[in-house]
């Protein structure tokens, strides 16, 4: 019996059941019980079977890690170190930040796991499910968690894999916050509705070891712009040139009124006779009519109307300027809605 097995036996002889604290319930209860009874062969078979079921059922990584760590420990105590390393590697790929409980697993197990974790270059991506980004101003944030020190390339790519924008390329120790301002490499809004956030982990040799990517659904939210004010109708503007009507009215009115003055004696029946007063009044009124015709001649500019129209045009232009400013403000208020999908690995490996 190896030293590890001895430790396990001693712990169990002391009635210590720390494994129960980590997890004894759920899908792996039978395998874990066999492990605790030092029946490692049965434990490995049972755990492998249960893991296969969960994997086939598409269970999340958090439900599988417990079985994997017991399976790796069981394989290790069965003397199958390569198999244990493979299981631990799979476990690190599923959860780069996972660490076995040192109170449950002996140092033989944890040291092997730690060495596997140090050699396995993989990451996990944590992104908020839904984010509103103000393009160019607000930032979309993603947290990259590394299994160990490594070099990563964090990029945004089109669905077909073509590069969209590079976000980070360099070393990562424990974790890394990457930010995206919602624009493409040219500083424009994304022309597509779906891109992927891809993190490629590089081995110390420089080769890409694992690739993890998260699909991002993009939706550009543009507020409606305000309508332009209706153009000024012709009826809203006063004529800026005099027509001929008032001129003719002045001339004809003067003539008619002069005629009325001259005709008064014959209308009232008085003795007509020459009258300088009558001629003077008729002449004055006739002269006023001619003067009125000249003052109201057709085509004469009408300053009062021109001023009123100018005021109305300026008011309309002010409305246009206000709407333009409002639309500029609304266009600047464009938001990019980002919905993150489920992370996936391009090179999944079964344990």
């Amino acid at each position: 019996m190896s030293r590890g097995l001895l430790v396990v036996a001693l712990l169990q002889a002391a009635g210590f059941r720390p494994a129960a604290a980590q997890a004894t319930s759920g899908s792996f209860a039978q395998g874990i019980r066999a492990y605790q009874n030092l029946d490692f062969g049965r434990a490995a078979a049972t755990l492998r079977r249960d893991l296969a079921k969960l994997t086939a059922a598409g269970a999340p990584a958090s439900e599988r890690v417990e079985g994997l760590v017991y399976l790796g420990a069981a394989d290790l105590f069965r003397g199958r170190r390569d198999s244990a390393v493979a299981v631990f590697k799979r476990l690190v790929q599923l959860d780069p930040r996972y660490a076995p409980d040192h109170l449950v697993f002996p140092p033989e197990v944890t040291s092997v796991f730690d060495s596997v974790r140090a050699l396995t270059k993989t990451v996990a991506i944590v992104v908020p499910p839904d984010t509103q980004v103000a393009p160019g101003a607000g930032n979309f944030s993603a947290l990259v968690l590394a299994s160990s020190f490594q070099t990563v390339d964090v990029t945004l790519r089109y669905e077909d894999g073509a590069p969209f924008r590079s976000l980070y390329a360099g070393p990562i120790g424990d974790s890394l916050h990457v930010l995206w301002d919602g624009l493409d490499a040219a500083g424009q809004l994304p022309p597509v509705s779906r891109i992927v956030l891809r993190v490629a982990s590089r081995a110390p040799t420089g080769e890409i070891s694992t690739i993890l990517q998260v699909p991002l659904d993009l939706r550009i939210q543009r507020p409606d712009t305000a309508d332009w004010p209706a153009p000024l109708p012709g009826s809203a503007l006063l004529p800026e040139r005099a027509g001929g009507r008032s001129a003719v009215r002045a001339l004809l009115g003067g003539i008619a009124l002069s005629g009325a003055v001259v005709a008064i004696p014959s209308v009232v029946g008085g003795s007509g006779g020459p009258s300088g007063s009558r001629v003077a009044v008729a002449g004055t009124i006739g002269f006023a009519g001619v003067l009125g015709y000249l003052l109201h001649r057709p085509g004469r500019p009408l300053p009062a109307n021109i001023r009123v129209n100018q005021t109305r045009r300026e008011a309309w232009q002010q409305q246009v300027a206000d709407v333009t400013a409002e639309n500029v403000r609304r266009r600047a208020a464009v938001r990019l809605a980002v919905h993150a999908g489920t992370p996936s690995s391009i090179q999944p490996r079964a344990p």
Partner: protein, 212 residues
């Protein structure tokens, strides 16, 4: 039914009255007057004033002039004859351009034979309208005497007259200027079957205030 109609009419009139304001106008006038009759021909200058007080479609008009007239061809040393004339007319405007008015019109002038006093009760109709923009309005007025009281030997037969002129209102101030020509013609019948004609005409020039 009749009471309801009366109430409706009163309420309508009250609504109209409350919506109106008084609009006074007063004009100082000078002019020349010529009196022609079978007893002679006189002319001279007169001065006076006239005014109106408008309230909605109602109008109260008054006029007063006085002056001296001399016989045509008389020397400057000869004494003139006093002429005084006035009228008070109450009118209404059934249409915006038409005014119907009635009231007394009195005239008195002193001749060598004594002072003649003429009192006519007139019915007047005036048509007016702007003809040079809104600044110049022309008007034509005709009147006819409904009755008369004259202290002359002849009996009154009929009298009528007319006036035509132009009123200029200034745009930037409540001022008006006026020029007009008027003529009154009276026919008297003598007991012997003869006819006496009296014609008074003249030029009037005025300048005054107008709050229309």
């Amino acid at each position: 039914m009749r009471r309801a109609l009366l109430l409706a009419g009163l309420s309508l009139a009250a609504g109209t009255l409350t919506a109106q304001t008084l609009a006074p106008a007063g004009v100082l006038t000078v002019g020349s007057t010529r009196v022609r009759s079978q007893s002679g021909q006189f002319s001279g200058a007169v001065v006076g004033g006239d005014g109106t007080l408008s309230f909605g479609r109602l109008e109260l008009a008054f006029r007063y002039v006085q002056g001296k007239v001399d016989s045509v061809g008389a020397t400057a040393a000869s004494a003139g004859h006093d002429l005084v004339e006035g009228s008070v007319l109450l009118g209404a405007r059934p249409l915006s351009w038409l005014t119907i008015a009635t009231g007394p019109h009195a005239r008195s002038y002193t001749l060598t034979s004594g002072t003649q006093r003429w009192v006519f009760w007139e019915l007047r109709a005036r048509a007016s309208g702007a003809f040079i923009g809104s600044a110049a309005r022309g008007y034509v007025e005709l009147w006819r005497a409904l009755s008369a009281d004259v202290n002359v030997p002849e009996s009154f037969d009929h009298a009528q007259g007319g006036e035509a002129g132009m009123i200029i209102r200034f745009a930037r101030a409540p001022l008006q200027a006026r020029v007009a020509y008027r003529m009154d013609h009276t026919v008297l019948k003598s007991a012997l079957g003869g006819t006496r004609l009296e014609t008074v005409d003249g030029l009037m020039v005025g300048f005054g205030l107008d709050w229309h």
